[in-house]
Structure formats: C-alpha cells, structure tokens
Symmetry: C2
Subunit: 174 residues, 2 copies
C-alpha cells in the first residue's frame, strides 16, 4: 500500500467540515481515499440536524459515496480521514466496511471509539481490525469545533436576552 | 411508557427478514415502534449486497425511516426490534439516535455488540444507554438464518460441481 500525505487529506476533510459550519451544523468533515492511487472517492460532512437523521454523520456519507464509487460494500484498500474521532456508529461502519486505515484529527472524549472511550478498531473478536492514526492537524480540527460552539453559545445568549426584552415589553403593555 | 407485546413486533421483524431471504441476502429484519402508541414507524431488511453498501443493514434502514417519520434524529421514546443482535455500527446508531429499548432475537457471537462481544448499550461514558431484551423468538430468528446459509452452501457446492463438469468438457474439446 502506498503511503500518502495524511495532512493533505486532513485538509480536504477540513474543507468538508467548513461546509457543515456554513450550514449551522457541528463542523465535522471526512474524506475516503483509495490507497492504490490516492484518489478521493468519497466526501462527507455532518448534516444530522439538516437531514433529521443520525445517519448523516460525515463518515457515513463519505462511506456511502465510496461504496457507490467502488460498487461494493467492502472497502479493503481504503483509508478514511475524519476531523473528529469517530463515534460508535461511525467506528462500527468503518470496521463493517473493512477499511484499512482511519486517520483522525481531534479526539472526542464524549463519544470517541477509536481510543478515547474504547477502541472498536482493535477488537480481536471482530473479523476485521483497522489501523489508526490520531492527532493529524488536531489543532485546526479542534479549533473549528470550539469556534462553532462558542458562536452557538453567543447566539443562544443573545436570543435569550432578546426574548427577555420582549417579555419586558409585554409586561409593560399589560 | 406502555409495554407492548415484544413477540408480536418480532414477528413483524421476521416478515422483513423474509424479504431479505427472497432477495438472496442474509435474512435479518427490523422494525422501530413509537412507545406511546405502539405504531410501527420504520421497517428495514438487510440489503447489503444488493445496495453495495454496509449502510444497508436492516437496523439502519429502519432507523432512517423512523427519523423521517418523526422529523428528528432523536428517537427517545422508541423501541427497535431486530431478528439478530446488532453489529457495532447498528448498536452505535441505536445509541446515537437515543432509543429507549432494543429487543433482539438471535445472538451474534461474531459481531454482536449488545452482550455477545461487548455491550455498547450500557457504556456509562456515553451520554445515552439503551435497555436491552434478548432471546425473543430466538429459535425462529436463528432458524431462518441457518436455513439461508445451508441453502447458500448447497448452491455454491452445486455451482462448483457444474463448473467442474464444464471444465471437464472443455478439457475434452481441447
């Protein structure tokens, strides 16, 4: 298997994360590459609230597209790059689709299943294990998330204040 | 939460499994119900080979449909019935969509993540846990799978024998 520039592909995953940000979704992005020639065969970004389904995590969309391109659910010989450590569903999907490698940026202490809470990629009882690399462009991957949630909290605070003012006005008119 | 007849819903999941069987897919079926009124809001059956994606497990399709019906990725107040113990991806999707309960039929020693290999439904570090009930109509759920794989092995053997005969014929004509 050829070894490609992990940072280059993580930058592509970050481009996807920015799309989620623009949409008002937690900015998580992902790309899947074919190891034999380094071609990106699947891209995805978080659309969970927009699509009203937990199945719209970045990894799931990228895996779906990669399988479509490959014409097979088996993705042996593929690597997935994701800005945030995968949750149990996405880590499970990576195992089930038999990918070779998972490279991620920021760790996820709340739901990460590639080392933080548990490591679904190295369970001997499963019929497939996944090589893992963590911390690639982790600062950029963390920063875009921190920035998003900081803005979200600010917006919520502003909305609450607005709502407070409105209720004050209402109180005066009664 | 109302408690419904688990066997009744498992029979509905088995109906879905039969659809997979007819399609030549490993017969696994699933339904999702709304606990408040017992209405089935999502159905699914395994179509992994047909759709060329690991995302076409029975549970994933049923969850997707339930979320569409609910208009939300959050499925608090819902129960999922599946004929085979969920794999890591599907168990993860059940946790991520915050369902109340998972009822399954047959255990899966090779990939089961609701008690067999591990239990993703009772990980304290996750922000959600899922109540589990196993062994509902387990014989029927196991039998349909055993029957499918027995038939598949028989077909493969017959095809190999056919191929052998053909190559003999070819050998004779050379």
């Amino acid at each position: 298997m050829a070894i490609y520039d992990d940072e280059r592909y993580m930058k592509e995953a970050l481009k996807q994360a920015k799309k989620a940000y623009t949409l008002g979704e937690a900015p998580i992005g992902c790309v899947v590459i074919r190891n034999s020639d380094g071609k990106i065969v699947g891209r995805g970004y978080n659309r969970r609230n927009t699509d009203h389904t937990t199945l719209s995590h970045a990894e799931m969309t990228a895996i779906k597209k990669a399988s479509k391109a490959q014409g097979d659910w088996r993705l042996e010989g593929y690597t997935i790059y994701v800005t945030l450590e995968p949750c149990p569903m996405c880590a499970g999907a990576i195992v089930q689709s038999r990918m070779d490698r998972c490279v991620y940026g920021a760790a996820s202490p709340k739901s990460g299943c590639a080392g933080s809470i548990m490591d679904l990629f190295s369970v001997n009882e499963f019929n497939h294990q996944v090589e893992t690399k963590s911390g690639v462009l982790s600062e950029e991957c963390s920063e875009i998330l921190s920035d998003f949630f900081k803005n979200l909290r600010f917006k919520l605070k502003s909305l609450k204040e607005e709502a407070g003012k409105e209720s004050e006005v209402e109180d005066e008119t009664i």
